[in-house]
């Protein structure tokens, strides 16, 4: 299995592997640093666990640097409702690809909670899940080392159209059908 890309740990017997952040079709630099619960706060943008955020909220929010919160599988973003406008990033950490809660959390962040910041998925997930994550409003991914941006683009483009509406507000097949009818009618 790919080594844990969501935090700077060593992969096997090689040097520490930093997450590669995929956003808008490219690998970009990660402006954030993930902070363990007992690590001292550096300057600069950090991501903290939900636990730490709730415990040190005032202090964290008073810092000028961008702040992100990491949610683990069972942690619903509802608890962050009031604070979301002040958060730049929510990281949804998936423990194992079968845990599909992150799809609902992302969706809820966008539609119910109107979050407009970055939603990042990290942890253990499949290349073939990225298309679904994008639809529910995820904007970036901490990719494992063996996927290239090209591969990700290919994987996400294999199915052209979608049946159901989601947080991405992408036109659905129903919308396309209507357009076809309108176009046909206009042509007459």
């Amino acid at each position: 299995m790919p080594t844990d890309p969501g935090s700077a740990i060593s992969g096997g017997n090689s040097s520490p592997i930093l997450p590669r952040i995929f956003r808008n079709g490219r690998i970009v630099a990660d402006e954030f640093v993930f902070l363990a619960d007992d690590s001292p706060l550096p300057d600069g943008p950090v991501i903290v666990t939900l636990k730490r955020f709730l415990a040190e909220k005032d202090h964290l929010l008073s810092r000028p640097a961008a702040l992100g919160v990491r949610l683990e599988g069972a942690e619903s973003p509802d608890v962050l409702r009031a604070d979301l406008p002040k958060l730049k990033l929510i990281e949804l950490r998936v423990g194992y690809f079968k845990d599909g809660r992150a799809f609902s959390w992302a969706r809820i962040l966008r539609t119910r909670l109107q979050f407009s910041g970055e939603i990042r998925v990290s942890g253990h997930f499949l290349l073939d899940q990225i298309a679904f994550f994008l639809r529910v409003g995820v904007t970036s991914f901490a990719l494992p080392g063996n996927w290239s941006p090209g591969e990700v683009q290919t994987a996400t483009g294999l199915i052209s159209n979608v049946y159901q509406p989601s947080a991405d507000h992408r036109p659905t097949i129903l919308d396309l059908r209507r357009r076809t009818i309108v176009t046909a009618a206009a042509a007459e």
């Binding site: 690809f97 809660r101 529910v136 294999l158 979608v162 097949i173």
Partner: protein, 551 residues
């Protein structure tokens, strides 16, 4: 029935190509088996006891002649010449090869078919009343909503990694011919006091290790809001369903853990939110567009009594016997529903050879209005046949080995593939079905026993629906040796009940005799021709226990 437009067709073609690229990545080693397994499962491809098994989706159990013919040629070419119709109205091919599956998916795509979401923790095939469009007692064709749900749930980005599989069923008649309440979401079409169309929605049915019947969570959901309501249930489940234990992960466990009142509260809160966005409101034009596909064929105006039919009955006693058990009244005068039994005595329940599939396709073209249905009891139904054509239809079924006159009777047994085929099984189920059928084959005995539904599962996963059998049999593994438990009193009809375990199990030798003793007890205790199920409900398990276990 529904016909794909360019969008539907493109999606299944692209899906086939996607799987082809996933198979290439697997064969090259780019994907490990751990990474590939969820991908192949989402296309219904299992690694079973002998080979790969491919499960082909048959949405709401409906097939056209072109599709049936294609299943015939695919099963011949790729899977040793036969397929198996399942209790979820899909078709399983037991002998496929991984390297052939991309080609199979393409051939299926050419006839508007696919294998999407026939496995995996997603929304599975949506099933319906097999008599849809033909039953006099239905208030709408349930398949309209099934097709709407099918599209909405296909590759749903939020609900493709649920805690566990999710099964939905829709009926529109007071008679339950689809085992409705055994589904995760059970939908019954109704009208409110103003005559508005809507649905009674129940949640949390399911068989397996802890069987439950679904409980009502929405007493009347207006038609235009039904998708929003279903999505609400799915979101509550996706968020809160257990993910720590495979046997506790279905929504039925969540419902019983929270209690139905709390479940309802959560669903209604979610529903209110979704409804307000209007995102899933069904536009009447779209409902109508889909409904048009399910419009009945152009029926002739016929008399309710066909002289050809009456005279054929005078000609052939065998035809009369088949009509008695296999033919049902149609809502349109002069028409009928004809059930094709896939339970010939001594053969595998639900199996169908390529030749039989092709023969059925021909009949569908000639007499069947190009349509056939699969039932959850592993039989097939011609939903529309002119009464005057029934005799010729039966004459064509006969040489195909498809004219067994036993629907609903003791030899109309449901059996999962069991240990003969399935990697999950603990015991064989098919040989039991074969032997029981042989012992009770005599048509007069069958007629005397009346409606008697035996359902056999080879393991606790209950694909044979043993919890819903009048007599249910569950195969277990006792130190590597097959062993069988008997359950009594289940029903998958509108009088739904879960069968109860009778007592200690029997080995392969003893189980047949035990079933015979159960039926013998019934014959002794029965009054005025009541069904087995009624006798059991009247007298309870004690007389049966005594007969089987007293010594």
């Amino acid at each position: 029935m529904y016909r794909y437009d360019e969008f539907d067709a493109r999606l299944v073609r692209e899906r086939a190509e996607q799987f082809r690229s996933q198979v290439m990545r697997r064969l090259s080693g780019e994907l490990s088996e751990d990474e590939f397994k969820p991908l192949r499962l989402q296309n219904g491809l299992y690694l079973q006891l002998h080979s790969y098994m491919l499960r082909i989706a048959i949405p709401y159990g409906t097939l056209s002649a072109v599709q049936m013919r294609s299943l015939g040629s695919i099963s011949r070419r790729y899977s040793k010449g036969y397929g198996h119709f399942t209790t979820r109205t899909n078709l399983q091919l037991h002998w496929t090869r991984l390297i052939d599956v991309p080609d199979i998916l393409h051939q299926l795509a050419e006839v508007d078919m696919h294998c999407m979401q026939t496995s995996g923790n997603n929304v599975r095939n949506v099933t319906a009343d097999p008599f849809a469009g033909a039953a006099a007692d239905e208030i709408e064709d349930p398949r309209i909503l099934c097709e709407i749900i099918r599209q909405w749930s296909t590759l749903h980005p939020e609900f493709s990694f649920l805690p566990r599989k999710f099964k939905i069923c829709v009926i529109a008649s007071p008679h339950d011919r689809a085992a409705l309440l055994s589904h995760d979401i059970a939908i019954q079409a109704i009208r409110n006091s103003d005559g508005e169309p809507g649905y009674r929605v129940s949640v949390g049915g399911g068989l397996g290790r802890t069987p439950y019947l679904a409980l009502e969570v929405g007493s009347f959901v207006p038609r235009r809001h039904i998708l929003a309501f279903i999505e609400a249930i799915l979101r509550v489940y996706n968020e809160a369903g257990r993910r720590d234990n495979l046997w506790k992960a279905r929504v039925k466990i969540l419902v019983h853990q929270l209690g139905i009142d709390e479940m309802r509260r959560r669903v209604e809160a979610e529903f209110a939110e979704i409804r307000e966005t209007g995102m899933l409101e069904l536009p009447p034009a779209e409902i109508e567009r889909i409904a048009d596909y399910f419009a009945p064929p152009a029926f002739e105006e016929l008399s309710g009594e066909s002289p050809e039919f009456e005279s054929a009955k005078r000609e052939s006693k065998q035809f009369v016997a088949w009509v008695k058990t296999n033919v049902h009244d149609h809502k349109t005068p002069g028409y009928a529903l004809a059930t094709v039994s896939l339970k010939p005595i001594g053969l595998t329940p639900g199996d169908c050879s390529s030749e039989q599939m092709e023969g059925l396709a021909d009949i569908m073209d000639s007499f069947g209005f190009d349509e056939i249905r699969v039932t959850h009891e592993q039989n097939l139904v011609f939903p529309h046949v002119r009464q005057k054509d029934l005799f010729r239809l039966w004459q064509q079924l006969e040489p195909l080995g498809l004219a067994t006159a036993n629907i609903g009777l003791v030899t109309d047994i449901i059996a999962c593939p069991g240990l003969d085929y399935c990697d999950l099984a603990n015991a064989r189920s098919i040989p039991l079905a074969q032997e029981i059928a042989r012992r009770f084959a005599d048509p007069e005995l069958q007629a005397e026993l009346g409606e008697l539904k035996i359902k056999i599962s080879g393991c606790i996963n209950a694909c044979g629906h043993h919890h819903l059998g009048h007599i249910g049999i569950l195969g277990v593994d006792r130190k590597g040796v097959e062993n069988y438990q008997i359950l009594l009193g289940g029903s998958g009809a509108e009088d739904a009940t879960l069968a109860e375990i009778l007592g200690p199990g029997f080995d392969s030798e003893g189980i047949i005799g035990a079933v015979e003793n159960v039926i013998e007890t019934f014959r002794q205790k029965r009054i005025s021709g009541e069904r087995f199920l009624d006798t059991y409900r009247r007298i309870g398990a004690a007389p049966f226990k005594e007969r089987l276990y007293a010594h």
